[in-house]
Symmetry: C2
Subunit: 340 residues, 2 copies
């Protein structure tokens, strides 16, 4: 399964809005074939893995439940059954309503030995944006913050350039390539007038701006390229590359952009981060921490809804990296097991 | 010099109130002898290193300027000169008024080739408590904090047990063995009633309690053993293991305990930490960070004296360690080059 997870990642950025999936075929304990979902509309992982397999009674490890429906391609379970696979080990069920246990059921009915839940956490994290979309009907949110050791993202006067090191900032910028859109509040744009670009695919790059009083000048750099989804006053029509959102809450915003095939949103900015965490809409957090103390007057990213330690939000599946004298800590704030 | 620094550390805990010193003798590029200051009152590092050296024209690397005065032992420079050392490479000058350049001067007068400043930062950090004592006339302070990623040391209601993991807390406790005394405020004692013990030498262990209204009950665990220096109302006389301090400021407190051979103080507690940082009396900070978000109502360790990013306090000589899913970041807030 580890190998299946590893090869699934080769599809990063190409499978949308399908999930990343990897599959490994073994016979008598030896891996004899592998495959992954390479591109949206192309073969699923199981098909690629089984294509050239001639022997019978194999075991198939697959990160996500095989599909049982006709989509862009025929159902994977047909191929599994016709190739006489003896045992299928599934990482996690696919909650997509077109699958949702049907794949497992039909494989069992065909006499295949099926087990579910192998390295389940890892298989779920592989597709946490896809699963968030299916389970919650909204885009997933990664919050990125650059802080001092006392948890401040800016000093009292708003100065925040630069809290973290150049290398941390470069690492932070590279996150844009792993997300479908970037989201910021008006404060950030008015203060810093950032382009919010990314290296590749600038024209298809999507930006979400929350500016409910439309205080941001239309000549600001954020509007220069890409597509901008604006949560503004609602008085103006969509025009050029500015798409007006007609929504009332952050949750609705994330549901709305999900419908426009934005699966994952990267949020930059302390105040917005706090609000997303408070509303349980931040799924993942990446903190770049710099060895500085900004002081109590500084601006944090803390939400305001807890009063005792047991209420505090615990990150799960934490990973830590040092970047020179900075620390990068990454973890999940929601999970894709249940609605939390 | 790296080797000299390494062996100097073998004296940790035994040389007080002398500094840690390591010395390495080389001849034609090969190390032929080493020595370190093993115990207070015993031979200095240079003497130990040179003792068995029979060849002439050697090079001596020593982490601290050799002494030129009679103390518990004869001046080291006499031995260096009599052993015909050709070159002496010194890590850093000894600002102790009995040395303070005199050692260097006398070696040069005797025709020895002397250079100063090799790995100077590291040699200074080796003895930052000793140097703080000499240069500032006070005990050095290490501030230890256990925080969430949003920089909180407790939740709004004061709950703080346990923010960090068991392993982090064990690591944090081991710091007590590296300091001469522990310092806390009354709030911590009233809330948690901690023993503030350490593994070894409990009877000689010193505790400093700041309790200016003497709200802490004398039956509290802190008074059970060791010696307690109390900054209280000043109305009571010293009694038993409680030594009343007659001082008015935190700075005076640190000067006073330095006179009582306390070179290094470990401070635990957020509020006191903030005050020490604010008053520029915290020399070193060790932060244990846990992947939790406590929220804006939580209690931090931030001082309240800065408003813009350029004023923020930068840590120097930072080292980072991961402890499971916790991070330990250590760095210096003052330096021992100049009075800052």
């Amino acid at each position: 399964m580890l190998e299946a997870i590893k090869i699934a990642k080769k599809g990063i950025g190409k499978t949308k809005t399908n999930p990343l999936v990897g599959a490994v075929v073994s016979s008598q304990g030896e891996i004899i074939s592998k495959g992954f979902h390479e591109e949206y509309g192309q073969n699923h992982a199981e098909i690629n893995a089984l294509e050239k397999v001639a022997v019978k009674n194999t075991t198939l490890h697959v990160t996500l439940e095989p599909c049982s429906h006709h989509g862009k391609t025929p159902p994977c379970i047909n191929q599994i059954i016709s190739k006489n696979v003896k045992r299928v080990v599934i990482g996690t069920k696919d909650p997509n309503q077109k699958v949702n246990g049907e794949g497992i059921k039909k494989l069992k009915e065909a006499g295949v030995d099926v087990s579910v839940g192998c390295l389940e956490d890892q298989c779920k994290l592989l597709n946490y944006s896809y699963l968030t979309g299916i389970l919650r009907g909204r885009a997933s949110v990664t919050v990125k913050v650059a802080t001092s050791i006392d948890g401040k993202v800016a000093a009292a006067d708003g100065t925040s350039q630069w809290i973290t090191s150049k290398k941390s900032r470069e690492d932070g910028k590279s996150l844009r390539n792993e997300h479908d859109a970037i989201m910021v509040g008006s404060g950030t744009v008015i203060k810093d007038n950032p382009k919010l670009d990314r290296k590749s695919g600038i024209e298809e790059w999507k930006k979400i701006l929350i500016d409910r009083r439309e205080k941001v000048e239309k000549t600001s750099k954020i509007f220069k390229n890409g597509k901008v989804y604006l949560w503004g006053t609602g008085k103006e029509p969509s025009k050029g590359n500015i798409h007006q959102l007609n929504i009332k809450t952050l949750k609705e915003l994330l549901e709305e952009v999900r419908k426009k095939n934005i699966q994952s949103v990267l949020c930059e900015g302390g105040k917005l981060a706090a609000e997303l965490i408070k509303q349980n809409l931040a799924d993942k957090i990446i903190v770049y921490m710099s060895p500085k103390i900004i002081g109590v007057k500084g601006i944090g990213f803390s939400p305001d809804n807890w009063t005792t330690l047991s209420e505090s939000k615990k990150l799960s599946n934490v990973s830590i990296k040092t970047i020179g004298n900075n620390v990068r800590m990454e973890g999940y704030l929601t999970n894709v097991h249940r609605d939390n």
